[in-house]
């Protein structure tokens, strides 16, 4: 091959071949769809929620177009049929689900992660990890059913005052549901701790207990916290289990009062389902309020996800 032929061969633009252009643009469009989804989601929630706020103000008898938002965000009474749209009643129930489920899920999830990462033999781990995965694969509607039909009666024998639909059983099932999430992300963080750190601990004469709690857990702390926040955000967004188990009476409860957990309440997600299942006529006020709750929920979970992401990356230990 002479030099000129070679030069011609070398300057063929393979990148501009039709197959290259077509495949590259298809893949790019696929990736860009996620941006479109997000923009669509935000635009939709924003416009529909905005309609709710401009609509609701005159209807609930409050002056001014912006009073709707304040009323919505600070009101503690939720009664759409009578024009009361105080989202705090729903938020309080959601917070209770979050607190109650985290009391179960965070310690158990962290314990599971520690066991799997530090103690379990490879063989045991190969059984336990798929088992946890299957736990995470059971649909939430099934968990809700478990709560009502088995857990509430069982808890009722211990707590006589328990109502048929109550926050406690909802918290229990949501807690169990999010254990795998805490466990798997925390375990990833712990497994990433290099063995030299452990060896250093053992070299100082530490026991396995001391190495696990004193070396591995602190070293993996950012991953553990990030898993906690993700799990809480999942608990907040959890819908069917709380819809079935927690009841349908919206009320503003004292979230730090243990007694309040025996009562029924209406978390945000359950309220959305209730509104949609009820008398939603497209464009009506109740319909708009679903979007207002949805927007609130979206913002809360988005902030939590971002915080979790920041913790996981910003405070990532450099080994």
């Amino acid at each position: 091959m002479s030099g000129d032929d070679l030069e011609a061969a070398l300057t063929t633009r393979t990148q501009n071949a039709p197959s290259e252009l077509l495949s590259r643009s298809f893949f790019f469009l696929c990736a860009a769809l996620s941006i479109v989804t997000t923009i669509g989601l935000i635009a939709l929630l924003a416009t529909e929620a905005a309609k709710f706020f401009t609509f609701s103000a005159p209807l609930v008898g409050v002056d001014g177009a912006t009073a709707g938002i304040v009323e919505f965000l600070t009101g503690t009474n939720w009664d759409p049929t009578n024009g009361s749209f105080g989202v705090l009643a729903l938020v309080s129930a959601t917070l209770m689900v979050m607190i109650g489920s985290s009391i179960i899920a965070l310690p158990l999830g962290l314990g599971t992660a520690t066991y799997l990462s530090e103690y379990a033999s490879p063989r045991l781990r190969s059984v336990l990890k798929p088992a946890l995965e299957i736990l995470a694969g059971i649909p939430t509607v099934v968990y809700g059913f478990f709560a009502v039909i088995y857990i509430t009666p069982a808890l009722g024998t211990v707590l006589p005052g328990l109502s048929k639909f109550n926050m406690l059983s909802a918290c229990v099932v949501v807690g169990i549901m999010i254990i795998p999430m805490v466990a798997s992300i925390s375990e990833d963080a712990m497994s990433a701790v290099p063995d030299e750190l452990r060896q250093a601990g053992y070299g100082m004469g530490a026991t396995k207990l001391e190495v696990s709690t004193g070396v591995v857990v602190p070293a993996a702390l950012s991953g553990i916290f990030s898993s906690f926040i993700l799990a809480l955000s999942r608990a907040i967004g959890e819908t069917m289990a709380v819809t079935i188990a927690a009841g349908s009476t919206a009320r503003f409860l004292n979230i730090i009062d243990p007694g309040a957990y025996t009562e029924s309440a209406l978390p945000m997600t359950a309220a959305m389902v209730k509104l949609v299942k009820g008398d939603v006529t497209g464009g009506g006020l109740a319909y708009r309020s679903v979007f207002a709750i949805g927007a609130t929920l979206f913002v809360i979970t988005l902030v939590m996800n971002i915080v979790s992401d920041v913790i996981a990356h910003r405070f990532k230990e450099e080994y």
């Binding site: 393979t14 071949a17 893949f27």
Partner: protein
């Protein structure tokens, strides 16, 4: 020197091990808590649904003797001889169960949703242009890509839609908007060239439906199974094995009616439920002689069940009054708990799953390929990256709002249809598919990419020839898990207005659909007779959880197999 030794020991002192032991036990308890808790609940619900204690003690005794004892004995024997063989045996057993389960779903598709003739028409309409595409490539490889692409696309379009097809509809729609398109107004209604689908579904004399299924379902599955069994044994062996499997399917259509099963489901169950596990067993028997003994385990279970069933029916021992019975699986909802069934929801879930897979799989894999192989390191890539992980964290109920607001309110589509449900659930699992597909693509060794790039492959050639084949099973695993998530979701379907109760299956994507979890929710919030709460809902839960466990275990087995191969 005993005294010295003890001195030394005393000198080092004893670190208490009690705290360590307690800690370890606590951690194990924490790990097992959730698993045990849910297992107990699942046992409860299975007990409520299946009611094993209502059976005659003789029934239990019979199956104990014919099924449990032999299985335990054979299992222990195999396990002691070879653990690998035991694993193979268990895998084969699981394969049988899962394949039979899915064959039921497939049979349902052909009985109530797709007419076999329509199916045949679609298969033919896809096969013809595919053959043309292969022919064009084989005829001259150096045909310009655009020419090949054009011919192939045109062939598929003609074959599936004919002329003018949907483009004509679009053209007439555009001409109504005032665009100058020649013959625009008429293009929407006339039919110049019929499609292959039309031609085939319009043939006056069609073979019996089950014969069409033997060809279109049994044929491809038989060929794949035959190749798997006789992979290294030459062409003749492959043809023989494939024909044998095809014969099994055909025989099922003939024998089915004799035992009271109509030919169509018999053929489908044989093709989807019997041939694949049989092929696996044959593969083990022929190609893995050391693990052959493991096949004794599934054989014992199958023979034991059949013998047990024969004995109880001959002697007349009553089985359990299970609520998960044939009637439950094949009838629709009823206000009477006794006759309430799950059929429309099972079919609805299958349809939703198929539409989610069709919509989300290509897009998810495409996005993953872009991000892993093409994306330059710039702000747009980082935005997409962060955005996808945040989308994965958006609550499913909010996706339901998106689906409703976008498709129903703004695009004016009817609420609660298969298409909208599939699109909404597809958007929901898209980030999950992308994330798992990226992981699978990332696990392709860099040396393989370097080898391909070093040969002067373009990006797309490397992706097509090296990256996708290597990551395929990982991508498949992630997709199955994501599909499991999709068919377990309830809240998005409620938000898009899917009806909780339907009495028939949709036959088109624009009809409303219900799903298994939705039906379970409807029943558990009916406040009807207690039987609904304590019998019907558990029965629904058992079916739903069985399907999901089957899907998840397939995915997990697939992943373990493929991880150990690397």
């Amino acid at each position: 020197m005993a005294a010295d030794t003890s001195d030394v020991t005393a000198g080092f002192g004893q670190v208490s091990r009690t705290a360590g032991r307690v800690f370890r036990a606590l951690l194990l308890a924490a790990t097992l808590f959730g698993i045990v808790f849910v297992t107990i609940l699942l046992l409860y619900v299975a007990n409520d649904a299946i009611q094993p204690l209502t059976a005659d003690p003789g029934w239990h005794l019979t199956f104990f003797l014919t099924l449990v004892v032999p299985t335990a004995g054979v299992g222990a024997f195999v396990y002691r001889r070879s653990q690998a063989a035991f694993q193979t045996g268990m895998l084969a057993l699981g394969f049988v169960a899962v394949a039979l389960l899915f064959s039921g779903g497939a049979a349902m598709l052909f009985i109530d949703i797709v007419r076999p003739l329509t199916w045949l028409a679609v298969v033919v309409a896809l096969a013809v242009p595919a053959a043309i595409a292969v022919g064009v490539t084989a005829y001259d490889q150096r045909l310009p890509f655009l020419a090949r692409f054009g011919v192939t696309t045109a062939a598929f379009y003609l074959s599936l839609f004919g002329l003018p097809g949907p483009l004509g509809t679009v053209a007439s729609w555009l001409s109504q908007l005032g665009l100058p398109i020649p013959l625009g107004a008429t293009l929407g209604s006339v039919r110049l060239v019929p499609s292959v689908v039309d031609v085939v579904s319009g043939v006056p004399v069609a073979p019996a439906p089950w014969l069409m299924l033997v060809a279109t379902v049994g044929g491809p599955i038989g060929v794949v199974a035959g190749h798997a069994v006789a992979r290294d044994r030459g062409r003749r062996a492959r043809v023989a094995a494939s024909s044998a499997f095809l014969a099994v399917v055909a025989v099922a259509g003939v024998v089915g009616p004799a035992v009271g099963v109509t030919p169509v489901p018999a053929v489908v169950v044989a093709a989807v439920g019997v041939v694949p596990p049989a092929a696996y067993a044959a593969d083990v028997a022929v190609n893995a002689p050391r693990e052959r003994v493991g096949l004794a385990v599934p054989a014992t279970v199958i023979v034991g069940s059949l013998v047990g069933a024969g004995i109880v029916s001959v002697v007349g021992l009553a089985g359990p009054q299970s609520w998960v019975d044939w009637a439950f699986l094949t009838s629709a909802h009823s206000t009477n708990a006794e006759s309430a069934g799950f059929y429309p929801s099972i079919g609805g879930s299958i349809l939703l799953m198929l539409s989610v897979a069709v919509l989300a799989f290509p897009v998810g894999v495409g996005a993953a390929i872009y991000l892993e192989e093409y994306a330059p390191d710039n702000w747009l890539t980082r935005v997409i990256d962060v955005n996808i992980s945040n989308l994965a964290g958006v609550p499913s109920v909010v996706y339901g709002l998106l689906g409703f607001g976008l498709f129903v309110t703004h695009l004016n589509r009817p609420a609660g249809t298969v298409l909208i449900g599939g699109a909404t659930l597809g958007l929901l699992i898209l980030p999950i598919i992308i994330i798992s597909a990226r992981e699978a693509i990332r696990s392709v060794p860099e040396a393989q990419r370097a080898a391909s790039d070093g040969m002067g492959a373009t990006k797309w050639q490397t992706v097509r020839n090296v990256v996708l084949p290597r990551s395929f099973s990982g991508i498949l695993t992630g997709t199955i898990l994501a599909l499991g998530r999709a068919i377990g979701e309830t809240a998005p379907l409620i938000m898009i207005g899917a009806p909780t109760i339907k009495f028939s299956l949709p036959t088109q994507v624009s009809e409303t659909v219900t799903a298994m979890p939705l039906q379970v929710y409807a029943w558990s919030s009916l406040y009807a007779t207690p039987d609904f709460y304590t019998k019907v809902v558990p029965a629904g839960v058992v079916v739903l959880v069985t399907v999901l466990l089957a899907m998840n275990s397939v995915a997990i087995v697939l992943r373990n197999k493929y991880q150990s191969h690397d």
